[in-house]
Symmetry: C2
Subunit: 135 residues, 2 copies
Amino acid sequence: MDRIPILKFGDALLVTIQVDMHDRMATALEEDLTTRIVQYGAHGVLIDISTLEIVDSFMGRMLDGIASVSRMLDAETVVVGMRPAVAITLVELGLSLSGVRTALNVERGMELITRTREAQDVADAGTEDDDRRPA
Amino acid sequence: MDRIPILKFGDALLVTIQVDMHDRMATALEEDLTTRIVQYGAHGVLIDISTLEIVDSFMGRMLDGIASVSRMLDAETVVVGMRPAVAITLVELGLSLSGVRTALNVERGMELITRTREAQDVADAGTEDDDRRPA
């Protein structure tokens, strides 16, 4: 088992990281995620890291990488369930995960994605001549 | 890492099984799940097994066990993402998972839990003197 399952939830994809990632697994996850984002037209990627007690620089860069690629495909990445100790370690490592948004848990992460999407829709609608949404 | 994360989603809890379970892990999962069901007042448990290529009799009994315990705590268990080969193996092993409901994916599983709950609420309301829902 060297693939991490990607679950679809409405407009978003959910990934729970439960094992220590190695190179090949990280690459496979990034590939699978991009395929699914396009396949489902997903607007958000939720990555749950609540079981991770340690996040090293490899994992930090992986999260940043996933966020960058997802953004190019018009999907927002939200990392959820980060432990306080992990946050401290990341800052100490100089990894601020600037491209990644965070939320306390999956539900709040999902709300964040929905709200961001709605705000974008409103902004898009504002640029139209009338109030109707583009088809 | 020998604990499987349990994510809360509205009225339901979500567990993704990604690794081969051993005894201690299965016991820990059952304990954690029951604690969370009570803590959040959850009405459903979704268990995603989409990455599992093999489900042996140990895993089959574990799923049955979780379903039985959850039912006692008024939560429905839905196993989602079962591969066709796994379904065939389970039947061949004589494990029909009679106490477990199944759904093709997480979204359908969630719908199933919501629908079951609504049907129960209607049934409960019907036993009242008037149509108002009990407080």
